[in-house]
Point group: C2
Chain length 267, copies 2
DNA sequence: AGATATTTGTTCGTATGTATT
DNA sequence: TAATACATACGAACAAATATC
């Protein structure tokens, strides 16, 4: 590993060359249980030894084993059920949970509008192209039902805010339908950032009447292209949509920021 | 939230509309501690109440509180130290740990070479452009030192494999230097996938003499463009590099797969 | 260097909750 | 309803780590 590159581990292949640092007993046991899963190539739903057996196997106390299990549960690698026939089972980290965990990484490193749109401009067009030929009539219905939520001008600020979120939902629906799980996940995560970042909430709360109408126009064209199975048009439309959205968001960002600067200045 | 869109939570803004599902006591306490962090807007390094105080505050047993803390520690939100002056402190989820957690999501959903390169082709060129004007001479040294590892033809299979990983390291170094944290993180994660996925390991283990020489050529041109602060050239060079790499990887994928079973290949 | 105080980490035994039969 | 098999919760005692004097 080159100097300057952080060491990176993953359950995909456990990084066996242990560093000097001594693991706590709990983490040691969590690693051990992960190894059980990998070595026995267990699949989601498969059963792990129960608490009693783990206690005996790892020669640790109940609490310590439970802390290890808790850690694995937090990572989405296992889940447990009480009662007879219950126990701990191999789990699959859900999409929403994965986004939640990743969200923590950006909590103290709040990215800018520009950072987010640099990614969206490149990936959303590919996402749109990727779903061509993969949509059922039920999928189109879901997309159109989402669009219904913002086809009329908003009556008040509250509705305008909800409409912006619904517009994000439109993109999220598309993201979940992509046959490329990475593309779908990343785009979905970008939407989450837009929903949750403070600066975005401020922007969405400020009025911008053109945005809705233009967004609606792009999305109607997009659906037509998707129904025609015209990947190239879908890509082009989404690219234009994103470029428009970026300009608009960055303008609003400037206004919102300026507004706050003014507020900060107390005479 | 539109129908069909999974509910998504995040510490960025705690999703207060609690679902029906009853939380376990442990998770309840973990949520409570997260709320403490958010409400008091604590920053990394700030101190949390110690175990005794948490036990009293939440009226739970020591083990239960400790499980809650373990969960938060697993998420990178806190870290603890023993001894006087020790305690639990707000933490920042590290980059490598975030990648590890996200890696779990793709463990049972192994993406294909095509999935990964669909993202890389779009983002790596932007990454290259983004670092223009941000590199110090120390950064160039790091990049060139990494390239040294594969400037000669490999003497054996083992060395060839290590050279491929070093080539990935080159890109990872670049990813860490990007001023766009999202772009940098996503690209770095793609490199992780390439390092760890079974199919990629098989591909890297099979010989492909052209790949190294062409990769080297692109990276030398890239460094020149970066030194000239020529973002457009950097973008173009990286794009060509990625297109070449995709072709090469997909060819190797076909060969490796054919060598095993002709399993479920996508059309 | 050694004693000591502080705080997390681990152990153990017991009791309670929950879902199946 | 009762018996069961399992996770979940409790709390006191003890161990280990790490600062300070």
């Amino acid at each position: 590993m080159a100097i300057g590159v952080e060491d990176q581990g993953s359950i995909i292949v456990p990084p066996r060359p242990q560093p000097e640092r001594r693991l706590k007993r709990t983490d040691d046991i969590a690693e051990g249980i992960k190894d059980l899963i990998v070595e026995q190539s267990l699949s989601p739903g498969d059963r792990l030894p129960n608490e009693r057996e783990l206690i005996d196997q790892f020669k640790a106390s109940k609490s310590t084993v439970r802390e290890a299990l808790k850690s694995l549960e937090t990572q989405g690698l296992i889940r447990s059920r009480t009662g007879p026939g219950g126990g701990t089972f191999v789990g699959q980290l859900s999409r929403s949970r994965a986004m939640e965990l990743l969200g923590n990484y950006f909590f103290f490193r709040q990215p800018s509008i520009g950072d987010i749109y640099a990614v969206r401009i490149e990936l959303e067009p590919e996402l749109a192209a990727s779903v061509v030929g993969h949509l059922t009539s039920a999928d189109y219905e879901t997309l159109e039902r989402t669009m219904n939520l913002y086809e009329r001008p908003p009556r008040d600020r509250g509705e305008e805010y909800r409409q912006r979120l619904a517009e994000l939902d439109f993109h999220s629906v598309l993201a979940e339908l992509s046959p490329n799980p990475i593309l779908g996940f990343i785009c979905g995560f970008m939407h989450n950032l837009l929903r949750n970042l403070t600066i975005c909430r401020q922007i969405y709360a400020s009025p911008n009447p053109d945005l809705r109408e233009q967004g609606l126009h792009y999305q109607i064209s997009l659906i037509r292209a998707l129904k025609d199975e015209d990947a190239e048009s879908a890509r082009r439309i989404m690219r234009e949509h994103m470029e428009m959205a970026r300009r608009s968001m960055e303008q609003s960002e400037a206004i919102v920021t300026r507004g706050f600067l003014r507020l900060d200045r107390k005479p």
